[in-house]
């Protein structure tokens, strides 16, 4: 059952893209900014998880939680320091700032610890179980479990809690949200916190799954998660989930049929196709609205 095996691999990879893509899409939804530093928050999450597990010797779940918390704080700091003052500036100014923040994070990490890669410690025995003839590693199951739990949690926050409703209100119409008494600044910070926490979680499970992390590891997954967010329809939370999974599966299929050198190109071919054929993405809304 080769195809089932590949499908599971694709979904594992896609889950990581989806977790990162959620942060892109939520931030875009609320302040219309493509936060290109998001991939670097993912990298920081991977390193925080690494130090937590390898140096402080704590287990996988506590390391995951610490990484998510610290990334949430980092995300809020980035927003408050770099983006907040640009809220009324042109979009291109904010975009360039985001790229600047991205480079700043990457090279700050290199400055302090060097550019050499790090080998992620093994946190769980890599056993395989066999289902319908496909051997599925315990790590794939872990990735899937973490992703599903986080996505359910996110859905709950966005749809059932007060802050989630505030987030949806602000992303729809910030001034109308102000008139409800919603504190728009705090809501934007909360969005960065949640998106960055998800990127942090993605960083830790990426490290465990691929075992090798380095300060520039966030660049390519960050770009691909951006493609995933566009594919799903930027601004749409279900879109980011589906876009991530589709992208992961497509990449895995491209590798599986023997074109592994084209793996990275596949994502960008998808980006080009989606921009030509359906720029609003799978779940994208048309800008039309009833007045």
């Amino acid at each position: 059952m080769e195809w089932l095996q590949q499908l599971v691999n694709g979904i594992s990879l896609g889950s990581i893209y989806a977790l990162i893509a959620l942060g892109y899409t939520m931030v875009y939804g609320i302040i219309k900014l493509i936060n290109f530093a998001h991939g670097d928050v993912f990298m920081l999450g991977a390193f925080i998880g690494f130090y937590a597990i390898a140096r402080w010797d704590i287990g996988f779940i506590p390391a995951l939680i610490i990484s998510m918390l610290l990334c949430a704080i980092i995300g809020v700091i980035i927003e408050r320091v770099a983006y907040k003052r640009l809220r009324n500036a042109t979009r291109i100014a904010a975009l360039i700032t985001a790229i600047g923040v991205s480079l700043l994070i990457e090279y700050t990490v290199i400055f302090f610890r060097g550019a050499s890669p790090e080998a992620y410690p093994e946190v769980m025995a890599n056993k395989s179980i066999s289902i319908f003839g496909a051997s599925i590693s315990s790590q794939s199951i872990m990735i899937l479990a973490v992703t599903i739990v986080l996505m359910i949690l996110l859905q709950f926050i966005v749809h059932k809690t007060k802050i989630g409703k505030a987030m949806r209100a602000v992303s729809h119409d910030a001034d109308a949200a102000r008139l409800m008494g919603i504190n728009v600044d705090n809501t934007i910070s909360a969005t960065f916190a949640i998106g960055s926490a998800l990127a942090g979680a993605a960083g830790v499970i990426f490290g465990i799954y691929y075992t090798r992390i380095d300060p520039l590891m966030g660049v390519l997954p960050g770009l691909k998660a951006f493609v995933a967010a566009v594919l799903g329809g930027i601004g749409s939370i279900p879109g980011a989930m589906v876009g991530g999974l589709v992208l992961g599966v497509v990449e895995t299929i491209v590798s599986a049929i023997g074109y592994s050198l084209w793996r990275d190109a596949a994502a960008f071919v998808i980006l080009i196709l989606i921009l030509i054929l359906k720029p609003s993405g799978i779940f994208g809304k048309n800008a039309r609205e009833k007045v």
Partner: protein
Amino acid sequence: MLKVNNIDVFYGNIHALKDISLEVIEGEIVTLIGANGAGKSTLLKTLSGLLKPKHGNILYFTQQIAGKPAQTIVKSGISHVPEGRRVFSNMSVEENLELGAYLRNDRDGIKKDMDYVYELFPILDERRKQLSGTLSGGEQQMLAMGRALMAKPKLLLMDEPSMGLAPLVVKKIFEIIKAVNSQGTTVLLVEQNANMALSIADRAYVLETGKIVLSGTAKELQESEQVKAAYLGGL
């Protein structure tokens, strides 16, 4: 309850409101009439904290609210029904109403006020689970009003509630404004439909290019030749 003293508001370089003073007394319906671009919406946005005046002050009871953030102003009891309704069209009717009560934590009170809003607008009750973007214009206006009432305002600011609505619906909306007012909510109503507005108001101000040019009781203005010529369709 509300006293605006000599405020000046700028939109970038445009001097949108020039030395405006007005007063709203508790229990009244006060209307602000004027043509497009006279500065009516700007004034309401300044009162609700979306814009900051450059000079002047706004006294609400004993509190200075000029330049305060919108959430402070909502909390102190001023709700603003914005021009064009601005309902959250990606959310259900019920969620919109819940957002109206965003700053409140009294579950029972919120429940009670939601029932009151549904009683006021039975059509919203029928559509509570429906996405608000699928409502008709009149229903959206009702939702925007209901949403503002969920904050339990003492003062309701209404910006062009009649805009784009059929005459029968406008009549209905104005009846409800009167009903809400008789329950004790003070109303400051901005309208281009001067006839309608003056028919339910106690007092009125006429705004022209950022300045108040006339004020008085609604009856006086209805009979004023100047207002008749400019806003009530002549003769």
